[in-house]
């Protein structure tokens, strides 16, 4: 590990932005799928764009829009259910943010919370991996975040505009994108015996959680299991 002198520069943003181009296409197509769905429940272009910009979560938005029904804006209990769904689907971001504290905590408030406002899965995974490889520039997080956020907005726009370009994203395997990236990056992050213990505990908890109550909590519980394992197994001398 090199020195932990954190900076936040445009050069760092650029590095993150370029490195994150890998998942830009996937995010664009996911945005496209949301845009099409938004059109199906009669959201206007502006409403769909606002939702993508403010919520910025594919799974949460699709779940929310699905409960909108044909052109009906829900009220009362239905809104509460939507908010609860978003909270559950995005609970993993609490963990992501906590993990970024040692790094982003050294940037200014605006830089840190601005980066967090558009945090995405691929964005976070890539940043944590880069940090592990010695990246100290916190601009990397915002740069790779923008590389996901911009195609997301672009995809939404194209989706609500075009009616049925991509009616079934599952047919093109787009729903598999996050799983595919996780598997690929997981393979490249596996090193040493310590990681094997993290893998086993996370896999066991993920499997058990998926069996007992399938849903978004699986990811959070697996993440916590890995963190607890690393915490318990920590040896001061074992830093590489």
């Amino acid at each position: 590990m090199t020195s932990h002198q954190t900076v936040f520069t445009v050069a760092g943003m650029r590095r993150g932005f370029i490195a994150a181009q890998s998942f830009g296409i996937g995010v664009f197509l996911y945005g496209l799928a949301f845009g099409l769905l938004a059109r199906e429940v009669n959201l206007s272009i502006m409403e769909a764009m606002l939702m993508s910009g403010v919520v910025y979560s594919g799974s949460a938005q699709i779940a929310a829009v699905s409960s909108f029904g044909k052109g009906q804006i829900p009220g009362g209990g239905a809104v509460f259910a939507i908010l609860l769904t978003i909270l559950m689907l995005n609970a993993r971001y609490l963990l992501y943010g906590a993990a970024l504290r040692p790094w982003l905590g050294q940037a200014s408030g605006w830089q840190a919370y601005g980066s967090l406002a558009i945090l995405g899965d691929g964005n976070w995974l890539l940043s944590m991996k880069a940090r592990e490889a010695g990246e100290n520039d916190a601009g990397y997080v915002l740069g790779s975040g923008l590389a996901g956020f911009l195609p997301w907005m672009g995809g939404t726009l194209v989706g609500v505009w075009t009616a049925s370009l991509l009616s079934n994203p599952a047919a093109l395997g787009m729903d598999f994108m996050l799983v595919a990236f996780s598997a690929a990056m997981g393979v490249s992050m596996l090193r040493g015996k310590g990681d094997f213990a993290i893998l086993l505990s996370a896999a066991f908890v993920a499997y058990a959680a998926d069996r007992l109550f399938p849903g978004p909590w699986t990811i959070v519980l697996a993440g916590l299991a890995g963190a607890v394992t690393a915490f318990l197994r920590y040896r001061p001398e074992s830093t590489s």
Binding site: G173, A183, L199
Partner: protein
């Protein structure tokens, strides 16, 4: 460019919940001293989260997804390229779902 007035409160609430999730964990860690031991735990989360994403899909035992995951591991072993491996996986899933 129309936005229905009754859409706005829902939009704002949804945005607040989303931002709370993104910023909340980071904010809470203000009050926690990050010891080397805790930092090793935080560093373990990406790998564990990725496993949490992959394992349920693998455990469901649907053939296209399992073939694709094997293809991803093989590409990573030989080419060690995230992007190439992920897109191979997505391509394999699309073709396998069509054929099987």
């Amino acid at each position: 460019m129309m936005v229905r007035p009754e859409f706005l409160p829902i939009l704002i609430l949804m945005g607040l919940v989303s931002f709370f999730c993104r910023a909340g964990g980071f904010w809470l860690m203000r009050f926690v001293t990050v010891t080397p031991r805790l930092e090793s735990a935080l560093k373990a989360t990406p790998l564990a989260v990725m496993i949490g994403i992959v394992v349920p899909v693998a455990a469901r035992g649907s053939l296209p997804e399992i073939i694709a995951l094997i293809a991803i591991v093989i590409v990573m072993r030989f080419a060690n390229n995230d992007l190439m491996a992920a897109f191979t996986g997505v391509g394999v899933v699309a073709v396998a779902r069509y054929l099987l």
